[in-house]
Symmetry: C2
């Protein structure tokens, strides 16, 4: 299957970023063990072999994806903090919660965090990435909001509750128990 149009080459660095971005969607459904490198390649529009030229192993690819997600989350929180800059801790945390809710209205970002958590249990490299990701997040939220330990803890606890709701699709079920769990949780 010859392509008559001049082939457009991209630099490896650009390709790596494309793969990182598109792999989020691939890993979001079935996580680290349930997703094949062929699926990642298809999502990125390249051959499976080329995935291995860009990333040395599936494990390093996945950890890179996880880190990429944490960077995005942090960026969202930063811009929220900038928007609500100088307000009370409650106001800043409120703004950050709203920004997070918007960020993950596309669920893939959050599902990666869930799957990263699951893989962290037995994959040391993933665990390290998750630890660093949350370490930075927690410190940033604490610093930018000026909230107490209790408030910061509450902020993350609600985030985790969010993951639960989305992962089992509780927002598609209308019942007393889902209303209790999702009460006051925004989603766009």
């Amino acid at each position: 299957m010859k392509n008559e149009r001049p082939r457009r080459l991209s630099t490896a660095e650009e390709r790596r970023e494309t793969v990182l971005r598109t792999a989020i969607g691939a890993f979001a459904a079935r996580g680290y063990w349930g997703t094949t490198t062929t699926e990642v390649a298809k999502a990125a529009g390249i051959s499976q072999a080329y995935v291995y030229r860009l990333f040395p192993s599936k494990e390093l690819l996945f950890t890179a994806v996880v880190e990429h997600c944490f960077v995005q989350v942090r960026a969202a929180l930063e811009s929220a903090a900038a928007g609500a800059g100088g307000g009370s801790p409650e106001a800043v945390l409120e703004g950050m919660g709203d920004a997070y809710a918007r960020l993950i209205s596309d669920n893939d970002l959050m599902l990666i965090q869930l799957h990263a958590q699951a893989a962290a249990v037995s994959e040391p490299a993933v665990r390290e990435a998750v630890r660093q990701g949350y370490a930075r997040l927690v410190e940033y939220v604490r610093g930018a909001s000026g909230g107490t330990d209790e408030q910061v803890q509450e902020f993350f606890a609600r985030g985790m509750l969010c993951h639960l709701i989305v992962s089992m699709g509780a927002d598609e079920v209308d019942a007393p128990w889902t209303r209790t769990l999702a009460a006051g949780i925004r989603h766009y």
Copy 2:
């Protein structure tokens, strides 16, 4: 090892329970996609082929394990509620939280819940089991504690935070961010 009880009660039923119990440990490390049926068989001390005589497929085995875990969690909450019966909602929830903390001092129970959540994203049968599990849990906690929606929600949010802490081994890291996340969270 003769059984004088009605002999129609086969030993296959006992085996099934053994497998269910031991499979918790097998699935806890790498979840649904990362755990092989051979590992489950080894943990139960039977051949891999016999796993398939006891359970028709890996999916049904896993969902059975998940349901088994939810039953155990519920039983723990029930006995806690019985112990603190009639107290204020806060006292009952406190007792339940403590019972849960004890239950999962062996981490496997909790890790199954985490992996079940992850698998629920793309496996309808698992999602259904997880939904039912949490539906019953939420209704039970609400009813037995008499707490408000907000208190019940807070109870589960803290549970999810617990999962995060354990999955990335935050309790093994001594740093400000881990202390913030784990503040006031018991573990035995």
